[in-house]
Amino acid sequence: MSTNQIQLTIDDRQVTVDAGTTVFDAARANGIPIPTLCHQQNETPVGVCRVCVVDVNARVLTAACVREAENGMVVKTNSDKVQAARKTLVELLMTDHPTPCARQQHSGDCELETLATTIGASQSRFPKRTTPTRGKDDSSLSIMVDHSACILCDRCVRGCSEIRHNFVIARQGKGFETGIAFDSNSPMGSSSCVSCGECMVSCPTGALTNKRVIGQHFEQFANTDAVEVRELLALPVFKGVSGTFLELNKTAVSKRYFKAGEIIVREGEQGSTAFYILEGKVNIYISTPRAHVTTEDANEGLLSKLKSRLVTRKNDVRPEENTHRKWIPIDGPVDLAYDDPVAELVAGDLFGEMTCMSFYPRSATVRASTDCVMLEMLRNVLDVLQKNKTFRAQLDVNYRKRALQTHLKSVPVFHGLSNDFVHKLQDRVELIRYSPGQVITRQGDLADSFYLVRIGFVKVSEVRLGGELVLAYVSRGNYFGEIGLLGEGFRTATCTALDHVELVKINADDFREMLDSFPEIRGNLEAVARERQLANQLRVSQFRSVPVEEFLNQGLMDAQSLLVLDLDRCTRCDMCVKACADAHDGVTRLIRDGLRFDRYLIATSCRQCRDPLCMVGCPVGAIRRRNSLEVIIEDWCVGCGLCANNCPYGNINLHEFSVDGPVQQQVGQAGVSQSDVHHKATVRKATSCNLCHDQGTPSCVYACPHDAAHRVNPTEFFAEMLGNMTPVAPTETQRKARQRKVEIPGNKI
């Protein structure tokens, strides 16, 4: 025995260990098991669970994991006294633990419950906790937190801090209310947690468990390979990701091989995965020809054809708004040029983030231009990657180098920015991510930055007496935060992430420098800010004027323009529908059916809602509203139908029609240029009432011979009668009847 070694007796066995060794380690090194919960070999012992109590012939029992062994010490690990104390401790822990917990249910290896069974403490003598449980946190995509199953062993805290050096988890609260917390007690999903999974693999119970991605699975493609964890960990982008986490989620990522020319995803399709290009190049493009819905070719009869030729229409052309966009936003690292919507992605690029994280339809078609190897992943893996510092750094570099310039210049007001200034901004802007529901700026806060939306949708709302008033939805290619910076320095509205949002943040100093350097941009921004403020004031004034509950129930309060038909005047001649069809190349955008309000029929036609839910989620930003009231559907709509599904009133329809246009499927192939590939195609696009903005009065109203059809602001139109009337509430029979009617197929005339 060297001088650095000591001798002690454990359970009647003489053992020799190095000085400084704990009793627990000394016993384990000599094959004597001591049960424990809070202690792990790779973490600093803390002795909080006390399950490893041993008798060292001292005044009280001691925790073996923290007690240093002493020369000549006599340790009893399994005496009656120790067993009784350990059993009581486990019984007490079991009273505050759901049985069986999630881990025990799924894999049967909850350490506490296993130990309780082993030592005969499954049935606790003490009553279970009667106060409300501490609840669950479902906010993380990969880890489920059940606070009520937590035994406060601190293994997750030490795993996060000592092993991963992330310092996200700590204890919070006092006494019976004590629990673990992420950052300053934020939900795990919106904390700075990087989803490395260390806490989950450290947890002895079902408090932190791996979340299965329910309902998602890879289709079995011929060109798919399962990926080994060590192969993933060898990739630079997975550096720092927990191997255990990847092992648990290895079915959520696969390696795919594509031959040159093969289509990887198609625009408009539903999906749930993102792709990371490992090798090769792809073309990303919108193949749907750009066009507004028309059925000119479908016109039958001489008179109809003659009319079609004689009447000039300017559907959705708005020279006065100067809205001709040069860039189409897509779910990828680049925007597509309006005139030639094709771009190239290379190894290291990621696409399909919005589809993967928020289940939006695919925004563009991607075709392999060379043989490619890709990682296709589900959102729990993508979420981990996006929180991974190495991967984030690579994406940031890619974005700053390749996409920031086109992204900034795709916003009309920034068109005049010089390349030099953009280069300057490249190193200064921040890319920030927000989870669904997270507040980005709060009304009344100090305005310290300006934001460009890169991914996702942001709700801009104002809190007023009586509730929240949604002012706008902002998506990729748009921006917010300028009113506060240009005005009094305070936020005038609250901006909240509606889904997984990524923003480009320009701080106030850089923003001001930009305005000073480019007076034209200042002018443009100030003009936009004024328009937004005026529009907001108008909405707020309307919001205040008619506080009638029943009126709200029919959603009429939310409408800014309703097509109402006075049923006492309407002879049901359908001239309104015919006029609408005539005004839109044979495709009517209204159905003479809907809810009744007093003697008025609220026709099925766009209500120009204040809270235009239809605009949330458009994968290519084709549905929008600008300075005018009408909802505009741009000609690059890919026909995915999300806006139609989102409209609560069924006022957006999808139509198939034939169109001559450039078809991008073949662009990029050898010897094929953009101008070579024109041919007739059948496309599907969304339509909605555009108020016949190019003709002044809406055609339905203009063509009504009986003065029955009116486009009205509901709060003004119904204001007088709201005092002495009650909206007609449909009976059950009427409700069923209306359900039948809304199924009326097709509205082509």
Partner: protein
């Protein structure tokens, strides 16, 4: 079109026009030794002005063919159609000197004109009152062209309901799921199943299904279900026969019949509201063409 205070200007204009033309006619008639007639200068002027008004009234039909042409709102054209069309009648009477006699063409023209004017007045009256009547009497109104489709949907729903009620297994299942206070509901259902189901099927096959399947939009003659009272009596009788657990399904069947009655009512009212046009439009067209023939013939010969 509803004729209300918004027509005031047109009404005043028409009355003034009538008074002025009457005054002129009175002077003209008093100064004509042979009495007023269509061949005189003043008669021709009345005839031309009256014919122009008729042409304008007739152009409403053309206006409707081009609903989005920005050539005046359709309601303005409709008001013009009503009031100028009406004013054309006294003008043509002034033209003819209130004579309905003459050649065959003249007599035919005057007869047509009277019919057109009367049918037009009938149409105006119908358009004034009927929309409100439809609104009140058909709360579950649908689009007229969709009536047959909705009727088909109703028939499908009724078929499914009756098939369920006729299926002993499903009946048992309904009884088991129902929160009934009746002890032994299941056995009651099973005991009554044979006789009650037969009765229900008989009612459905002989009365209700033919009523719902009625092709076209008119009321089937003689069906007891076309009367709300008789229908109610039939369903009350069915309820007494069938166990309580299926009463809600019986009510659904009753609602389907009620909706079918409404569809029939809507169909009937729609035909009344638009039927007069079958007389008015072709005769108006004939009147304008024959009027032109009359004018050319009279001026040439």
């Amino acid at each position: 079109m509803r004729i209300d205070e918004t027509h005031r200007q047109w009404f005043i204009g028409s009355v003034v026009g009538l008074l002025v033309s009457s005054l002129i006619y009175a002077v003209y008639a008093g100064r004509s030794p042979q009495g007023p007639h269509g061949g005189s200068r003043m008669g021709i002027i009345f005839g031309v002005v009256g014919y122009i008004f008729m042409i304008f009234a007739g152009l409403l039909g053309m206006r409707k063919k081009f609903p989005i042409w920005r050539i005046g709102r359709a309601q303005t054209w409709m008001r013009g159609h009503l009031w100028l069309g009406l004013l054309s009648f006294p003008l043509i009477l002034f033209h003819s000197g209130f004579s309905f006699r003459g050649g065959a063409l003249t007599s035919l023209l005057m007869t047509l004109f009277v019919i057109v004017i009367l049918s037009g007045i009938l149409g105006a009256v119908l358009q004034h009152y009927m929309p409100r009547l439809i609104t009140q009497q058909v709360p579950m109104e649908t689009i007229y062209d969709q009536i047959d489709r909705v009727r088909g949907t109703l028939l499908g729903e009724a078929d499914v309901l009756v098939a369920e009620l006729s299926d002993p297994v499903k009946m048992q299942s309904i009884a088991l799921q129902s929160d009934t206070e009746e002890i032994g509901a299941v056995s009651t259902v099973l005991r009554l199943e044979l006789e009650a189901t037969e009765e229900l099927r008989d009612f459905y096959e002989k009365l209700m299904r033919p009523y719902l399947a009625q092709v076209g939009k008119g009321m089937p003659p003689g069906s007891v279900l076309s009367s709300a009272i008789e229908s109610k009596q039939n369903f009350v009788r069915l309820r007494t026969l069938m166990p309580k657990v299926v009463h809600s399904s019986i009510s659904d069947l009753e609602d389907i019949c009620e909706e079918k009655r409404e569809l029939d009512r809507q169909s009937k009212l729609h035909k009344v509201l638009h039927g007069w046009l079958m007389v008015h439009i072709p005769l108006s067209l004939a009147l304008v063409i024959l009027g032109l023939v009359h004018a050319i013939g009279a001026l040439r010969y």
